[in-house]
């Protein structure tokens, strides 16, 4: 029997995903028509041996409850949400709920960060882990460019055994192009290692350099890094598609790849479709609209005559009026784009000319204090008037615009 644990953090985290995370908790933000972590759940449920999924985070139970019950119904598997009473870090939360994870004595558990998206190769990872009896943790690894690798957890491994000999989280200088994807297989014995790490943290806390919470523990720095070089930590390098979802711009990129994975899903074409496109069955799309590539359209959305949408996510109950164009943008729930308006952003995809390049999670502002070009985001309930242009701008929820905007954040 196997289990899976998905770490989703809390409302204090994922601020770079604003304003999208102002209306919907980031783990529930729909990508390719499904909440971000539903993709994790779907991948876990494909393994028949996986009997329970535990989601750990500090969002309130009421925030998560509707989603959890929906998932239970859809996948017929035990799915529970465990709320941290206070953010305990990636390791602290896991350790806090160790009894829940150990219950039923699973052979191992998958550990998945909620803020990544991937074509999760869980079966392959589990087989790799099973073949190495002394492995406590197997890390899914992927190749990055030399330059970008330092923004991730970097691993050096012994090539013959794939044992990790050195692990540094976000190093200052170049270590390795093999990076940690935030997807793991763990044996239950890892909790012994965590107990030792936890003890060290506690000792440190009460010996005078106590800061933050005594239960705080980083999975990467306090558990993985010390395990390196002990023949208990392994890396399985895969070439599946993988990306972090940190900034709002990465949502569009993730959308494209998930749509590609689920290509067979769209069965009816209400209008001229350029694949890949997801349209929720309750969306009303005029037959003269042209949609795609890389578009997800949520429930209850209305797309009027002569509309063009590409490289965008349209959230539930939004309306796109006649002749409007939406590209490289996210249109929030209940938002409305007026007729003949143009809502346009700048894509922030990885450099296609560099092998293994990842998304650059660029900050909102550059060194001159100017807004970096990014996708355009309309928060929930935003109204864009007819015949205007909104270029590389971010509009916070419920704002009714009265004119065109370019390169601005509109509070």
């Amino acid at each position: 029997m196997l289990k899976a644990v998905i770490l989703i953090g809390g409302p204090q985290k994922g601020t770079r995903f604003r304003p999208l995370s102002l209306d919907t908790p980031k783990p529930l933000f729909p990508i390719a028509g499904l909440p971000l972590i539903q993709h994790h759940i779907a991948a876990c449920t494909k393994l028949a041996d996986c009997k329970e999924i535990l989601i750990i985070g500090s969002y309130t139970t009421t925030t998560m409850a509707p989603f959890i019950s929906e998932m239970q119904k859809e996948y017929h598997i035990i799915i529970r949400y465990l709320q941290e009473f206070t953010p305990l870090g990636t390791g602290g939360g896991l350790y806090h709920f160790r009894d829940q994870i150990r219950a039923g004595n699973p052979s191992a558990f998958f550990l998945l960060n909620g803020d990544v998206c991937a074509d999760f190769p869980l079966k392959e990872l589990w087989e790799f882990h099973e073949e190495r009896p002394n492995a406590l943790v197997t890390i899914m690894g992927t190749e990055a460019t030399r330059q970008q690798s330092v923004h991730y957890g970097c691993m050096v491994r012994e090539l013959s055994t794939n044992a990790v000999t050195h692990y540094v989280e976000k190093p200052n200088s170049y270590i390795s192009t093999l990076i940690n994807c935030g997807v793991y297989v763990c044996s239950l014995q890892v909790f012994h290692t965590m107990a030792d790490a936890f003890q060290r943290k506690q000792d440190g806390f009460y010996n005078g350099n106590g800061q933050g919470h005594p239960g705080y523990m980083s999975w990467e720095q306090d558990v993985l890094a010390p395990l390196a070089g002990t023949n208990k930590l392994y890396a399985n390098q895969v070439s599946n598609w993988w990306s972090q979802v940190k900034t709002a711009g990465s949502a569009i990129y993730a959308n494209r790849h998930y749509l590609e994975l689920y290509r067979e899903r769209l069965t009816h074409a209400p209008c001229n479709i350029i694949p890949d496109v997801y349209i929720h069955p309750t969306a009303v799309v005029d037959s003269t609209a042209v949609i795609g590539p890389n578009v997800s359209i949520g429930a209850g959305v209305r797309v009027k005559a002569g509309v063009r949408i590409k490289e965008s996510i349209i959230l539930n109950n939004a309306t796109i009026q006649e002749h409007a164009l939406v590209m490289h943008s996210v249109v929030g729930q209940d938002a409305s784009v007026g007729e003949w308006s143009r809502v346009e952003g700048t894509p922030s995809d990885p450099d296609p000319n560099k092998p293994f390049a990842k998304m650059d999670n660029t900050p909102l502002f550059n060194n001159d204090g100017r807004l970096n070009p990014s996708i355009t985001i309309l928060g929930a309930g935003v109204v864009v008037p007819p015949e205007t242009i909104l270029l590389n701008s971010i509009v916070l929820p419920h704002k009714h615009l009265t004119r065109s905007f370019k390169h601005e954040i509109i509070l």
Binding site: A305, R308, L325, R342, I389, K406
Partner: protein, 369 residues
């Protein structure tokens, strides 16, 4: 028609066509400026028709460039109006006065006064009133003046109550007058004695001396006036012209379901379903506007095509150009002849030279070679 006003007799007019029309590029790279259609009619034809209406029987075009092209295109058109067209060809640019000296023989064949006008001016041409006023004061010349909002950019004209001009002041720092030279004159042949055959400015080297001698009068223009020599003013002039049509000749304006405000559409143009055209739009012959396009404050020249769902404001679309589907163009964008703008692009203040194909958006004003 002409000659009905016998008192005017044989009246001649000289139009200063001049040089390359660089300010109206990229349109003038394909056609001489006087032939660029303003409200579906070459700029020059607006002037010639008004002159004919005032009894002018001989029009002299002072040109320094591309005369053959104009001659070919205009001669037939103009002969229908019962007026003769003569080309006075400058081998070197002679300014605004020099061309009068070059055409001296033609202008001095009769003692009657003649009209002189700059070729960029669009207004309710007041030639009859001008001739009448000129005769009433009996001096050597009369210039038309028009009121402008910001006179400091121009040279202003200061004149007495009856119209006698006292002085010209270039770009005044303090407010002196809001009347400027409108680029239309009537002059007696005797004025030719003040002009030499060399590059010479009528505004600076002729008029001030006539004013000093008390021989120059000003007549104030009624209605709108615009120098349409550059794209921005071309579009402003078009709005003023269409507004004037609404008041004086509203049957020339197009009325229809998809039209808002003052719009001219050539009968050979086709307009798709669900469009919104206007206010202030002129659409030339054989233009195709596809379904769902929205066009405001723009001129679409002969044979151009605006494809589905495009949105245009403040644009001049050159002959045979194609504006792609879902394109947005604004802010005095000018497409030269035979330009293709690919689907879904945004063009903000682009000036696109002829025969270009545009495949990338132009988010800031720019010239595209």
């Amino acid at each position: 028609m002409c000659g009905s006003d016998k008192k005017l007799g044989e009246i001649r007019a000289l139009i200063l066509v001049g040089g390359y029309g660089t300010r109206l590029r990229p349109l003038t790279l394909s056609r001489p400026k006087p032939l660029v259609e303003f409200a579906n009619k070459p700029i020059l034809m607006h002037q010639i028709e008004a002159l004919v209406d005032a009894g002018v029987t001989q029009v002299i075009l002072a040109v320094s460039y591309r005369a053959e092209e104009m001659e070919k295109e205009l001669t037939e058109e103009v002969s229908k109006l019962g007026v003769s067209l003569t080309f006075s060809h400058e081998t070197e640019p002679l300014g605004t006065a020099g061309p009068l000296a070059l055409a001296r023989e033609l202008l001095s064949t009769s003692p009657e006064p003649f009209f002189v006008l700059n070729s960029d001016v669009i207004c309710d041409f007041p030639f009859k009133e001008l001739a009448k006023f000129h005769r009433s004061h009996g001096k050597e010349g009369t210039i038309v003046v028009t009121k402008v909002k910001e006179p400091s950019k121009y040279g202003v004209v200061v004149y007495k109550e009856g119209g006698e001009i006292e002085s010209f002041i270039e770009k005044p720092q303090e407010f002196i007058s809001n009347k400027i030279n409108a680029g239309m004159y009537i002059l007696n042949p005797s004025v030719l004695n003040r002009i030499e055959l060399r590059p010479m400015s009528i505004e600076k080297e002729v008029f001030p001396f006539m004013a000093k001698d008390g021989e120059l009068y000003a007549m104030e223009l009624e209605g709108f006036w615009m120098d349409v020599g550059q794209p921005k003013d071309f579009l402003t002039g078009m709005c003023l012209y269409l507004n004037s049509l609404r008041q004086k000749n509203s049957n020339m304006l197009y009325e229809g379901d998809c039209v808002v405000g003052n719009v001219i559409i050539d009968p050979t143009a086709t307009i798709g379903k669900g469009c919104r055209i206007g206010p202030n739009v002129t659409i030339g012959p054989n233009v195709v506007i596809e379904d769902g396009a929205c066009i405001k404050r723009s001129t679409i020249l002969r044979g151009a095509c605006v494809r589905q769902h495009a949105w245009l404001e403040g644009c001049i679309v050159g002959w045979k150009s194609v504006v792609g589907r879902w394109v947005r163009m604004e802010n005095t964008t000018v497409l030269g002849e035979d330009v293709i703008v690919k689907d879904e692009l945004y063009i903000n203040g682009g000036q696109v030279l002829p025969h270009k194909s545009i495949a990338l958006s132009v988010p800031e004003p720019q010239i595209i070679m």
